[in-house]
Symmetry: C2
Subunit: 656 residues, 2 copies
C-alpha cells in the first residue's frame, strides 16, 4: 500500500493547498482541483519524465491542462516540488508555497489560468478557454515526432469541456496521425458550472464515443492511485507499438473530493473561505486517516532522456525568381502577373527547404491556398499536416507545434480562419510563433459569394497589431501583399520574425508591381506613385484598383500619390509626411468592412491633429456572388470609377 498511501497523502496535501491559495486569492476553482488530486499526484510525482529544475526541457514529458481552471492543483504540486518559475533570469527560482499563495496577484507569475508567457514554463500553452488543450497536445506530439524525441504528452480534459467540438476535431486528428504519444485523460467529475453535465458527456457516453472514434478506452476510478498508474503504464506500453490501439483514459472523479461540504452543485469556481475553508480542510484531514494517507515511500519522478533536437542551420531562402526556376515555373515571369496565393505556395516551398523549423498546416484547401506546393515536395511532405475541414484544431495544433519549437504556417481561406479566432488568440497569448495565411481574401474571389469572403478580418487582427506581449513581441502583424514579389518576400520575412503574423492572399492573378530588387519589411509600406494633390493609401487587391483610378484622375489633371500599405502596424509618421506633401488629403481603400486600414490611418491622422482629412472607402454593404472581381468591386462601391469619383469629390473638383 505504500504507493497508494503516499499518493493519497500527496493528493490531500495538494488539495489543501489548492483550497488555501484560492481562499487567499478570493477566487478560483478548488473543487475542480480536488477532482484531479490523485491524477496530478501520480503524474507529477511518479509517472511523468521531467525535471522540476528544468521544466521546459524539450525531452521532458508535458502536461497540457485543457481544463485550465483546475490549475491550482498543478500549482500546488509545483510549489511542493520546487518547479522553476520566473519572468526573467533574475526572478528565476523554485516555486514555493508563498508563490502559490500569491495566486492571481498582479505581480505574481501564478496566474488565474495556465499562462506560460507570464513566467510559468511548466506549461507550454495558455489554456482556460475550453476545448483547445488536446489540439495543443497533438501539436507538441507532432513536433516531438519530427525531432525524434521520445516523450509523452498528457492532456487533461473536463467532462463538461468535452462538449466543445474542438475536442473531437483533435481526437480525429490524433487518430489520423496515430499520435500515440498523446495521452488524453477525461476528468469526469459530473458537475459543470451551472449544472450537471449532460448524459452526452457522462463517462459512459464518452467511452462509447471514444471507441467509435477508434480509441481503446480505459475507464478508471480517478482517485485510485494504482488504477491511475496502471492506466498510464498501459498507455506507455502502447506508445511504440504500431499494432496497438490509441489509448484514452476516462477517469471518474468527484468534484470536491475529500470534502463532502464542497461537493454537489454551487461550488464551481467558488473558493471556500472562513469557516467553510476550515471545514473543508478538516474534512480532508479526516479523509487522510480514512484512506491511510502517509508518505511512507519515496516517490521518484520519471527520468527524461535529456535529448535535444538537432539544431539544423537555417539557410538563406532562394529569391522569388530563383524559386520559380527551381520549381519549373519560370514562365510566370513572362506573364507579368501571378496570384499572391500562388506566390505564397512558391515561397512556402522555398522556405521549407531553407528553414527546418517551418511546418505547414492545411484544412482541405491546399490546392486553393497553394500550400500544396509544400505538400507535394517529397523533401517537405513529412512537415505538412492535413487537418481536414477542422480549422479550430488546425490553429490549436499549430500552437502546440510552436511550443515544440516549430514555425507553423497555417493556411486556409481567410473566411474560414475566423473559425479558429479563439484558438489563434490563445496561441498569441501563449507566446506562439504562429503564421496564419488566409487566401481568397476580401471580395475579389467574387463568384462564391459572401460565405467565402473575409470581411471583418482586418479589424480583428488589426486589434492585435496594436498590442504587445510580455515577451515584447507585437500581438500580430497584418500583411496584405498586392503582388507576387511582395507576397513571396513577406512569406519569408514572417519566418524571421518571432511572433504572430496574419497574411491575406488573393484569388485572382494580379500584375507585378515590384521586381527582384525591391525590399519589404514588417511594418513597411511602399510609395508606388508620387503626386501632390491627394494621398491614396491602399492594400492588397485595392492597390490595383487604385492604380486604375490614378489613370482616371490623371486624365482629370489630378496628381495623386499612391501608397501600398501592406503592413499593420505601419510607420504613421512617414504616412503623415506623405499626406503633408499632398495637401493633407488622404483616401484609404480596403476590400473589407470598416475598423481596418482606414481606421488605423485615421487614428494616426487624428492623433496628429494637424487637420488632415481622411476619407475611407471600404465594403459598406453585404456582398453577394458575381462572376467577376470587377462586378463585385463595383457592387460594393470600390471600382476604379468609384475611387476616382470619391477623390474628385474630396478635392471638390468636378469631372472634366
Amino acid at each position: 500500500m505504500s504507493f497508494d498511501s503516499t499518493i493519497q497523502a500527496k493528493a490531500i496535501d495538494l488539495t489543501k493547498l489548492s483550497y488555501e491559495m484560492t481562499a487567499e486569492a478570493g477566487s478560483g476553482h478548488p473543487t475542480t482541483a480536488a477532482s484531479l488530486a490523485h491524477l496530478i499526484s501520480v503524474l507529477m510525482y511518479s509517472h511523468m519524465r521531467y525535471e522540476p529544475a528544468n521544466p521546459s526541457h524539450p525531452s521532458s514529458d508535458r502536461l497540457v491542462l485543457s481544463e485550465g481552471h483546475a490549475v491550482p492543483i498543478v500549482y500546488a504540486a509545483c510549489a511542493d516540488l520546487g518547479v522553476m518559475i520566473g519572468r526573467s533570469k533574475e526572478e528565476w527560482h523554485p516555486m514555493t508555497r508563498e508563490d502559490a499563495m500569491s495566486l492571481r496577484e498582479l505581480d505574481s507569475v501564478v496566474d488565474g489560468h495556465p499562462n506560460p508567457i507570464e513566467g510559468f514554463p511548466f506549461f507550454d500553452t495558455a489554456t482556460g478557454s475550453l476545448g483547445q488543450g488536446l489540439s495543443h497536445a497533438a501539436g507538441l506530439a507532432l513536433a516531438a515526432r519530427l525531432d525524434d524525441l521520445d516523450k509523452r504528452i498528457f492532456c487533461i480534459i473536463g467532462d463538461g469541456e468535452s462538449r466543445e467540438g474542438n475536442i473531437w476535431e483533435a481526437i480525429d486528428f490524433i487518430k489520423d496521425e496515430a499520435l500515440t504519444a498523446v495521452c488524453p485523460i477525461f476528468n469526469c467529475n459530473v458537475f459543470a458550472q451551472s449544472g450537471k453535465v449532460s448524459h452526452q458527456q457522462s463517462a459512459e457516453v464518452l467511452q462509447a464515443k471514444l471507441e467509435a472514434y477508434g480509441f481503446k478506452v480505459l475507464r478508471i476510478d480517478g482517485h485510485n492511485p494504482a488504477a491511475i498508474q496502471e492506466a498510464l503504464s498501459e498507455h506507455a506500453r502502447n506508445q511504440h507499438n504500431p499494432e496497438a490501439d490509441l489509448v484514452a483514459i476516462v477517469a471518474k472523479t468527484t468534484k470536491g473530493w475529500g470534502s463532502p461540504s464542497q461537493q454537489g452543485m454551487g461550488h464551481h469556481g467558488k473558493p471556500a473561505e472562513g469557516d467553510e475553508l476550515a471545514e473543508a480542510l478538516s474534512e480532508l484531514d479526516a479523509k487522510a486517516k480514512e484512506v491511510g494517507a502517509a508518505e511512507d515511500t519515496k516517490l521518484k519522478i520519471g527520468m527524461m532522456t535529456g535529448k535535444k533536437p538537432d539544431a539544423e542551420p537555417r539557410k538563406q531562402p532562394m529569391s522569388f525568381e530563383a524559386a520559380l526556376k527551381e520549381f519549373g515555373l519560370e514562365k510566370v515571369l513572362q506573364k507579368g502577373q501571378y496570384a499572391t496565393r500562388r506566390a505564397y505556395g512558391v515561397a512556402l516551398r522555398a522556405l521549407g527547404h531553407a528553414d527546418h523549423r517551418v511546418v505547414a498546416l492545411d484544412a482541405d484547401v491546399q490546392n486553393s491556398t497553394f500550400a500544396e506546393m509544400f505538400a507535394d515536395d517529397e523533401a517537405l511532405a513529412n512537415r505538412f499536416f492535413r487537418c481536414r475541414i477542422a480549422e479550430q484544431n488546425m490553429f490549436a495544433v499549430a500552437a502546440g507545434l510552436s511550443a515544440g519549437g516549430k514555425v507553423p504556417y497555417c493556411s486556409t481561406f481567410a473566411k474560414f480562419v475566423v473559425r479558429g479566432y479563439d484558438q489563434i488568440e490563445m496561441a498569441i497569448n501563449s507566446g506562439s510563433d504562429l503564421k496564419v495565411v488566409g487566401s481568397h481574401a476580401g471580395v475579389s474571389l467574387a463568384a462564391d459569394g459572401p460565405s467565402q469572403m473575409s470581411l471583418p478580418d482586418v479589424a480583428w487582427f488589426g486589434a492585435f497589431s496594436q498590442m504587445t506581449r510580455p515577451d515584447g513581441v507585437p500581438g500580430c502583424y497584418v500583411l496584405q501583399p498586392s503582388d507576387a514579389y511582395s507576397a513571396y518576400a513577406l512569406t519569408l520575412l514572417m519566418a524571421d520574425h518571432p511572433g504572430p503574423c496574419y497574411m491575406r492572399t488573393l484569388r485572382p492573378d494580379t500584375e507585378f508591381l515590384y521586381g527582384p530588387n525591391d525590399t519589404f519589411t514588417l511594418g513597411g509600406h511602399e510609395v508606388l506613385s508620387e503626386g501632390r494633390d491627394l494621398l491614396i493609401v491602399a492594400s492588397g487587391y485595392m492597390v490595383h484598383e487604385a492604380n486604375k483610378a490614378l489613370d482616371i484622375l490623371d486624365s482629370q489633371g489630378v496628381d495623386a500619390t499612391l501608397v501600398d500599405l501592406y503592413s499593420l502596424p505601419f510607420d504613421g509618421e512617414a504616412i503623415m509626411d506623405l499626406a503633408n506633401d499632398n495637401g493633407g488629403n488622404i483616401l484609404t481603400l480596403e476590400d473589407n468592412y470598416g475598423h481596418g486600414i482606414g481606421a488605423a490611418v485615421a487614428s494616426v491622422a487624428a492623433e496628429d491633429g494637424s487637420g488632415f482629412t481622411v476619407e475611407q472607402m471600404f465594403v459598406r454593404n453585404l456582398p453577394k456572388s458575381a462572376r467577376t472581381p470587377e462586378a463585385i468591386t463595383d457592387y460594393v462601391g470600390l471600382s476604379p470609377e468609384h475611387i476616382a469619383g470619391r477623390a474628385m469629390a474630396m478635392l471638390e473638383l468636378t469631372a472634366a
Copy 2:
C-alpha cells in the same frame, strides 16, 4: 418501378442542369450536386411537405443544405418546380431554368451558396461556411416545437464537413433536446476538395460515431430512390414516438454520379466546360437508359398543414424599477450599484414575459451572465435552451430560431463569444435577428486573467456596425452599457430592433449613472458632464474610470466633458459638435484592444478634417490576472490617474 424510374429521371435531369448552370457560371460544384441528385429528388418531389408557391410558409418542412456548395442541385429542382424567388414583391416569380442559368451573376438571386437574404426564401439560413447547418436545423426544430408546428427539418451534411466539431456539438444538442423533427442526412461521397476524406469521416466510422452519440443510423445507398424513401419514412414514423431513438441517415453516394468522366479526384468545385461538359451530359443520357429513367408516374409533393404560429401580442415590458420589485430585488435600488450583467438578467426575464418571441440560450454560464433569471422563471423555462459548453452550436441554433420567428438572446462570457464568430457572421448574413450578450467584458473581471477577457471584440463587431444588409438592417449594433439602468433599457431596445446586436456586460458592480427617466436609443450616447477644455469619450466600465479622472482633472482646473458612448454606430456629428465646444480635443477610453471605439471616433474626426485631435487610450499590452479591477486597469494603463495624466499632457498642462 415507376417511383424509381421517375426519381431516376428527375435525378438525371437535375444533374444535367447542375452541370449546365455551373458551366455557364464558370464556377461551382456540379459533382457534389450530382452526389445528391436522388436524395434531393426524393425529398423535394415527394417526401417534403411544402408548397413551391409559398416556400417559406412556417408550417412547411424545411431543407438546410449544410454543405452549401452542393446548391446547384437544389436550384435545379427549384427551377423545375417553379419555387418562388425574388428580392422584392415586384420581382417575385416562380424560378425558371433561365434563373438557374444566371447562377452567380451579380444581378441574380441565384447566389453561389444558399443565401436567402438575396431573395431565395426556400432556404432559411446562409450556408457555405461548413459545419453549421445542423445547428440551424436544430434551431428551426426548437422554434417549431415552441409553436406546436408539425414539421420536419432535413439537413444534408457532407462527409468531409462532418470533421467540423460544430456538427458534433449539434448532434449532442439534438440528442439532449430530443429533436426528433431534425433529420440529419450525411452525404458520404468520399471525395473532399483536396483528397479523399479521412477514414474517420467514412460512412462506417460516421455510423459508429452517431450510434455512440445515441442515434439509430440508417445506412443506405444514396442513389436508390426506394431506400431513400424508406429511410425518410422511418424517420417520419419515429418523429412522434417518444419511445423511439433519434434517427440519422448515412447515405453512400458517388461524387459525379452518372458521369464517370467527372468522378474521382480533381473535380471538386470545377465545372465541366466545352467537350468535358458534352461528355458529362452524354454519360448522363446513357445512365438514364441504363437505370430505366422515365417519368412514368406523377410525383406528389407532401402536403403541409398550413398552420401558422399563434401571434401572441407583445406587451410593453416593465420598467427596471418595477421589474426589481416584481422579482424581489428592490434592495438593489438602495445600494446604488448593480452589475450590468445582473441588470441584463432582470431585463431578459421582464422581456420574456412581455414578448413571446424572445428565447434565451446559454453555454453553461447562466449563473455568471445572469441569464439564469430567465431560466429559473417557470413561465419562461421552456424558452430557455442550455447549449452546454459549445458556443458554436449555440449561435448557429440561434440563427435557426431566428429563421423560425424567434428573437434569440445568446449569452456567455464575451471572451467565449469569439468561439462562434463564424456562426454569428453567417447568422448576420442570413438576415437573423440575433442578440449576442457577452458578459465579463474587457479587463475588469481581473482575477481570471486573459483567457477570460474579451479584448478584440469591439473591433470585430465594430466592423459589422459599419455595414448594411440587403434588408436595410445594420450589420450589428455594438452596445456597451455602463450602469444597470442603461443595461436594462438596451436589453429591451434590442428586441424592438429587427437585427443583430452585441452587448457587452461587466462583471463588477458599477454605480448607477442614470435614473428611471433617462432614455436610450440604439445609436445614441449621453453627455454625463459638460465642460469646455476636453471631450472624454468612454464606454462601459471606462465611463466610471473617466468619472474618477474628472475629479482629478477638476482639482487641476481642467473642465472636461464626459460622453458615455454606449453605441456603435453613433451620431458622429453630435460628437464632433461636442468636440468643437471643447477646443477640438478628444480623448477616447476603452478597456479592449484598438480598432474599436477610439478608431471609430478618430475616423469621424479625420473625415471631418477640422483639425480635431483624438488621442486613444485602450489596452496596449497583454493583460494578466490581478485580484482587483483597479489593479488590472492600472496595469493596462487605464486607471483614473493614467487618464487624467494623459488629458493633462494633451492640453500641455503640468500637474499643480
